[in-house]
């Protein structure tokens, strides 16, 4: 039997229930890094940087989530650019993307890969 070792470190953020379905919350990490955690239907979680590269404001967690041709996205609340929740790539500005973070739920607690 082979066990693959996950060397990433995880930080607990909040109870899963604290993230309403089809919306996001922001979390603050050491060094002032901000991560936006999103919850889609079916308990699918995604985590991106909270900083919108198009406006410079730390607001992506406050965007509306949805899909574009089946791709799960969040739309920035500032100028409405959409970001792929899986890859961080911007659908509306070529070459623009935001960092993506691992996210998992353990024992009802949302954990984010430490940035």
């Amino acid at each position: 039997m082979t066990v693959s070792m996950d060397r990433r470190t995880w930080t607990a953020v909040c109870a899963a229930g604290a993230v309403p379905e089809n919306s996001g919350v922001a979390a603050l990490f050491d060094g002032g890094v901000q991560v936006a955690v999103f919850r889609l239907s079916g308990d699918r979680f995604h985590a991106l940087s909270n900083v919108d590269p198009c406006s410079g404001a730390a607001v992506l967690a406050r965007g509306i989530v949805g899909d574009s041709g089946g791709v799960p996205v969040v739309a920035s609340p500032v100028y409405k650019e959409r970001f792929d929740l899986r890859t961080g790539e911007c659908l509306d500005a070529e070459g623009v993307s935001v960092p993506v973070y691992g996210v998992r739920v353990r024992g009802g607690v949302v954990e984010v890969e430490s940035p």
Binding site: A12, V13, C14, A18, V19, P20, E21, N22, S23, V25, A26, A27, L28, G32, Q34, V37, L40, S41, V51, P53, C54, S55, G56, A57, A58, V59, R62, G63, I64, V65, G66, D67, S68, G69, G70, P72, V73, A75, P77, V78, Y79, K80, E81, R82, C90, D92, A93, V96
Partner: protein
């Protein structure tokens, strides 16, 4: 710089000035317009509609005062009295003298009053100007016994318009026509007899085939004695027996005139003096005078082109006519009377449906020459454009009722076919605008080509043309919903679905987006589904609605306490000042008569609202697709000129409509007198006080494309006003597209403002009771949304910057001082903008 003098300022003169200014942007021509009337050119074609509101502003032509254009001087009430062609000068009645390099005579025509004895008696009028209608109104309003009667001498187009106006003033009109039928120039006997029947059903008594022999005074009434022996006992007489060109200036200055009057001009509209032109109803182009506006506009364009180096010539004039008289469609086009040699007529007279349709075709039956339509003129635009061209189907099939026949499509029209005859726009022009200038909507086609901007009858064809060009005018809200916002509204209203999930499951695809989620949230809010952050709704809202404040560029929010009507006590001002000071908020007075407090973080918002709520405020919508503010001037309470309490009404309206979710923002204002200090006509709905009540204007906006609101109803009392606004707003909320302000909503409505008025004033669709009930429900159920958050711990918990560090403010937000206040410092100025 050369000087162009224009004698007269009617619709055609105005078109000339506009066209010269458009062709001559650098101002090689200085233009001096000498007008006889005391007001700038107005929509004389629409004169009869003046009776609906008695507001001259409703007939105003945009830009006809040339405000801000230093190249145009408009002198009102000062007609040209003489022309000295040798010296090239004109002198006005006031003695003003001006030299010209070019002179354009646009003196129009005068009403023809037949030489009937008694025609000068008090109570006899003509029908041409706003002043004429004011005089008729004054005479009609004199107290008297019973229903008052009037006789219109002349049963042509203008006579029937006059009859309609008199009927609208509450009189019983008679119409007397010499010819054996009404509108003898436009329709044939078949159409005329149906027209007579339809008009008679509308309480107009028609007398045809008879002269008017005398008008006699009979006490304070008039007796009209007709040639057939009939005597009509009436209160007033209106002559509308045609017009005659005003060619006096030409005659007195020795210019050639036509055999039957009119200033003789060539096909370039030039008179016998090369420096003098004549256009419009005073001109006889190669001997022929035209009494309708479209050929006049063509003349104006030709002269403008000639003055600016072009070489336009008068085209074969289109004297086609389409009008709606008292709800009856009448149209004639081309060779309506089959005067062409060998012409054949194909007519369908449907007495049951009340329609008469006739086509005139060439002797081989293959080419359309003209036609007459009475009772239903829906096919007018396509048929008119086909004149002189091969018929796409058998004439009989073209006349068959819709559905059963071979309806003429826009595809059948050749490129040269004129779609808009008012502005001479061909199918090829429109197709070019679609393909080369990227016009993909009716609105863009109108702006780009002017098609459909005068009488509007070709607007439905513009939509069909776009479709024919392959432009998909999809009303789909977004990729998740094929329906328009209006359709979704009806679906949600009918099914009473109360969640987005169910709407998209049943009527959409995918999981939604930033377009459809807020749109559905707005519909749910309008239909009354509780607090906008209740349950799933919170996840649908744009960030402003989700946090009930306006997001600014650094992710902070601004708070704008509601100040209804802009009225505020010193105590409340102190509260706002203290809140701003205590939270370090940048403070600015807004254009909507409120005070905007900037720089609040998500965490601070509830604390700020609590302070405001405790002091008797609520926060307000400076965001969201909802009513913003109702501005007001100070009104009759203080102002020396005010005639009504504009502040009181503004407060009433703002409190009534606050919180109403709509397709776009809604702005309003109330002015206490005609000076209009509140700028109400730049609002979605604006109210202006009159001596006896209120005028309501709708469809105005500022922004990228400013637009003045149009008069909807006039001189109404407050109850009627509020009821009309209720219906206007609710009809808008139900039927407009997403992000469609009221102006484009009305413009794109089939039938425009008239249709809107029919629906919400005359209840033509029978929905007013429903609209009234819906607004009553909104008013009854209104609740302070901000207080609603403060009272609900679950909602309150969402107002935190970080889920794992409540109370910690966003560290990227910082401020610096500018002119003594906090302004945002942007960390890492964004370089990327799509």
């Amino acid at each position: 710089m050369r000087t162009l003098v224009v004698a007269g300022h009617g619709m055609v003169a105005h078109r000339l000035v506009e066209a010269v200014r458009a062709e001559d942007p650098d101002g090689a021509w200085r233009i001096v317009v000498l007008a006889e009337e005391n007001r700038p050119a107005y929509d004389r074609v629409g004169l009869t509609s003046y009776v609906e509101c008695w507001d001259p502003a409703a007939l105003a032509l945009p830009g006809a005062d040339y405000a801000g254009d230093a190249n145009v001087e408009l002198r009102l009430g000062d007609a040209v009295s003489s022309v000295d062609r040798a010296q090239r000068t004109v002198v006005t009645e006031s003695g003003f003298e001006v030299s010209y390099d070019a002179l354009v005579l646009a003196t129009g025509s005068r009403p023809f009053v037949p030489p009937v004895p008694g025609r000068d008696l008090p109570g006899c009028f003509v029908y041409r100007t706003i002043e004429d209608l004011d005089a008729i109104r004054a005479a009609a309003a004199k107290p008297g016994r019973g229903r008052r009667a009037a006789v219109v001498i002349g049963g042509g187009l203008l006579g029937l318009e006059a009859a309609k106006a008199l009927r609208d003033m509450g009189m019983s009109p008679h119409v007397v026509e010499m010819a054996p039928r009404l509108m003898p120039l436009q329709v044939d006997d078949g159409g005329g007899s149906l027209l007579r029947r339809l008009i008679t059903e509308l309480d107009v008594t028609v007398h045809t085939g008879t002269s008017t022999d005398a008008i006699e005074a009979d006490g304070d009434r008039l007796l009209a004695k007709l040639g057939n022996g009939t005597e009509l006992d009436v209160d007033l007489v209106v002559f509308s027996a045609g017009v005659r060109p005003r060619d006096d200036l030409a005659r007195s200055s020795g210019l050639e005139v036509g055999e039957r009057g009119g200033i003789l001009v060539d096909d370039g509209c030039r008179t016998s003096d090369p420096a003098v032109y004549a256009i419009g109803e005073c001109a006889a182009v190669e001997g022929r005078v035209y009494g309708i506006v479209a050929p006049g506009y063509a003349m104006a364009e030709i002269v403008a082109s000639r003055l600016t180096g072009g070489a336009g010539t008068f085209p074969e004039p289109d004297t086609s006519t389409k009008l709606k008289l008292m709800g009856v469609d009448v149209a004639s086009f081309g060779d309506a009377h089959a005067k062409t040699e060998g012409a054949l007529e194909v007519a369908v007279n449907d007495a049951v449906a009340g329609t008469y349709k006739k086509l005139v075709v060439s002797d081989d039956g293959k080419t359309l020459l003209g036609g007459v339509l009475v009772g239903d003129a829906a096919e007018y635009n396509t048929l008119r454009a086909l004149v002189g061209r091969p018929l796409p189907a058998e004439p009989g099939a073209l006349l068959a009722p819709a559905g059963g026949g071979a309806a003429v499509g826009i595809d059948a029209l050749p490129d040269a076919a004129q779609i808009c005859s008012c502005n001479a726009v061909s199918k090829a022009d429109l197709v070019g605008a679609v393909h080369e200038q990227g016009c993909d909507s009716v609105a863009k086609l109108k702006a780009c080509t002017r098609a459909g901007t005068s009488c509007g009858s070709c607007v439905p064809l513009l939509g069909k043309l776009l479709t024919a060009c392959g432009v998909e005018q999809s009303k789909a809200l977004c990729e998740h919903f094929g329906q328009s916002r209006a359709e979704l509204f009806q679906i949600i209203r009918a099914t009473r679905i109360s969640t987005f999930s169910e709407v998209i499951d049943r009527y959409g695809t995918g999981s939604g987006c930033a377009v459809c989620k807020p749109a559905v949230a707005s519909i749910l809010a309008t239909l009354g589904n509780g607090h906008i952050l209740g349950g799933e709704q919170a996840t649908l809202q744009d960030t402003n609605d989700r946090f009930l404040a306006n997001m600014q560029r650094n992710g902070t929010y601004s708070v704008v306490p509601r100040i209804p009507g802009g009225e505020i006590t010193p105590e409340k001002l102190l509260v706002i000042a203290e809140v701003a000071r205590d939270f370090g908020l940048y403070t600015k007075i807004t254009g909507g008569q409120r005070i905007d407090l900037f720089g609040a973080t998500v965490d601070q918002l509830p604390d700020i609202w609590r302070r405001l709520v405790d002091a008797g405020f609520e926060s307000g919508h400076a965001y969201g697709k909802a009513l913003r503010t109702v501005k007001s001037c100070v009104g009759s309470t203080w102002c020396r000129y005010g005639v009504q309490d504009s502040v009181g009404l503004a407060i009433e309206l703002e409190l009534r409509y606050r919180g109403l979710r709509s397709p776009h923002k809604i702005k309003s204002a109330v002015s206490g007198c005609a000076r209009e200090c509140a700028e109400a006509r730049s609002k979605d709905f604006g109210v202006i006080a009159t001596e006896s009540g209120w005028n309501l204007y709708v469809g105005g906006n500022g922004g990228l494309t400013p637009r003045h609101a149009d008069l909807l109803v006039s001189d109404v009392d407050t109850e009627t006003l509020v009821r009309t606004i209720d219906r206007f707003l609710m009809f808008y909320v139900r039927t407009a597209d997403r992000l469609q302000r009221t102006a484009p909503w009305i413009e794109e409505m089939d039938g425009g403002l008239d249709h809107l008025r029919a629906v919400i004033v005359d209840d033509s669709l029978g929905i007013c009771e429903d609209l009234d009930a819906a607004m009553a429900k909104h008013v009854d159920n209104y609740a302070d949304e901000w207080r609603g958050v403060l009272e609900d711990p679950e909602k309150l918990a969402r107002f935190s910057s970080f889920v794992n560090a409540p109370g910690t403010p966003d560290p990227t937000i910082s401020f610096r001082a500018e002119r003594g206040q906090n302004v945002p410092v942007m960390l890492g100025v964004p370089e990327v903008r799509s």
